[in-house]
């Protein structure tokens, strides 16, 4: 799935960051340098950023301003990183907390 806007009616061409690759649970995902990790994931249709600890229900970005923590993932080994306000760097390793089989 591709949810990138591309050319916007008012803003023109969007997503100007350098194309890079990040690894989500080991899988390569194309991203733009500097954009929030959560946005890069959403762009390719990855909406689940964690699974709830007790009932293992999928959760996704909700507030996009760093408040709700639904998007908190493990990034380069650091847990509870708010991916909606953390920018992409080339080669980042992102893991989905609570994902079974990982």
């Amino acid at each position: 799935m591709d949810l990138r806007v591309g050319k916007h009616a008012v803003l023109g061409e969007m997503g100007g960051g350098r194309p890079v690759t990040i690894y989500v649970d080991g899988r390569p995902v194309p991203a733009r340098e500097g954009e929030p990790i959560a946005a890069a994931l959403y762009a390719v249709g990855i909406r689940t950023t964690r699974y709830s600890p007790r009932s293992a229900e999928p959760r996704g970005p909700f507030c996009m301003i760093g408040r709700c923590t639904e998007c908190a993932m493990t990034v380069d080994g650091v847990s509870n990183v708010r991916t909606c306000i953390t920018g992409v760097r080339d080669g980042m390793k992102v893991e989905t907390p609570g994902r079974t089989g990982s």
Binding site: L3, A9, V10, M14, A39, F62, C63, M64
Partner: protein, 357 residues
């Protein structure tokens, strides 16, 4: 534990319209000003406002929000404000120090004066399926699409026919999404007619007297159950995204933590720090401005920010009594103008009731 300590004359927490204007006024008066913001650029929520602003030329009418944000941020730098980004304020302690988590490490700030301009968060509502990925705040969707160029989904249902719900629906259309409808439990549209006309012209149906019953889907939103509350009949929509535009509540935990007296005002979004007309809280040297001082709109936030910045500069002894009085009177006149319309009257009454309490 010993952390680095930074002494400043003024610290401003939050680089949105209120914080930028507070910093600007204070720095121009000569205050050594530190502006902290959690994001990697200043501007706050102005960055996602791609529509042209209403109001007077003084508040950037006719300009789009992100243009205003860029201009204010540039002016702050020119005025000598030290802007530190990607810096989260973790605490504002009763002793008057703030703890900051930043790329350069964790450190403390000991300010002589402080302006809390931390903005607002979106209100939420619980219903079956509300935690499924694909359900998000309308403001979150607006950030995703207008700032990052990513759609929240291909088919979106909006809940809330206020200005935010209407504007974000239109902006989702502009970006290429399909908006299947706008649902509101009220029997009339609460947003401006100019915004509702715009979405109606694009063929988006507005379902008044309707409410969201449930969101269904396996790993995320796939369909939605919407009920006509007057007829008790439910309809199922196919959609991959649900946006909630239910209003905002002040983000003022730092003020509460600092020991500021809090008051509750429904019209202003809930709990907020008590403050006077010059944005002074009941803690010495602590000011508040913008949505953190009660939900209004960006132009009001800018003026409250200016007021707080002037008040802080006066307290620091950088403005003479006469200078401060004249500047505050000008801000007060503009605030009165902004709150004079039918939508501003309730806000004005609520604000007055706080100042007098």
């Amino acid at each position: 534990m010993s952390l680095p300590m930074k002494d400043v004359e003024l610290v401003v927490v939050g680089g949105g319209p209120a914080g930028l204007c507070a910093s600007l006024e204070a720095a121009r008066a000569g205050a050594q000003t530190l502006l902290l913001d959690e994001n990697d650029r200043a501007g706050g929520q102005l960055f996602k406002q791609v529509h042209r602003f209403f109001g007077s030329r003084h508040h950037g009418a006719g300009k789009r929000g992100y243009v205003i944000a860029g201009e204010l941020a540039d002016e702050c730098l020119k005025a000598g404000v030290e802007v530190r980004l990607s810096s989260s304020v973790l605490g504002f302690f009763p002793g008057g120090e703030l703890m900051v988590d930043a790329p350069e490490g964790v450190y403390l700030v000991r300010p002589r004066t402080a302006v809390i301009a931390t903005g607002a968060s979106e209100r939420c509502m619980a219903f079956p399926g509300w935690t499924l990925p694909g359900v998000m705040g309308a403001g979150a969707a607006q950030t995703l699409v207008n700032v990052h160029g990513v759609l929240p989904g291909k088919r979106v249902l909006m809940v809330g026919a206020g200005n935010v719900g209407l504007i974000v629906s239109y902006q989702l259309l502009q970006a290429g999404a399909d908006v299947v409808g706008i649902v509101d439990i009220a029997d009339c549209v609460s947003g401006y007619e100019v915004h509702s006309d715009r979405v109606k012209r694009e063929g988006v149906p507005i379902f008044l007297n309707h409410r969201i019953l449930a969101v269904e889907g396996e790993g995320g939103v796939e369909s939605l159950l919407v009920e006509n509350v007057s007829k008790g009949k439910a309809v199922r929509f196919s959609a991959d995204s649900l946006c909630l535009a239910l209003g905002f509540t002040p983000l003022a935990e730092l003020a509460s933590m600092r020991g500021c007296r809090m008051v509750f005002r429904e019209e202003l979004g809930g709990y907020l720090p008590w403050h006077d007309a010059e944005m002074r809280t009941d803690r010495p040297g602590v000011y508040v401005a913008g949505d953190a001082a009660g939900i209004e709109e960006a132009s009001v936030a800018m003026e409250e920010g200016r007021m707080a910045g002037i008040s802080a500069a006066e307290e620091l002894g950088l403005l003479s009594g006469g200078q401060a009085t004249a500047r505050k009177a000008a801000v007060r006149r503009r605030l009165q103008g902004l709150r004079s319309g039918p939508y501003g009257m309730d806000k004005l009454a609520a604000k007055d009731s706080i100042h007098g309490s």
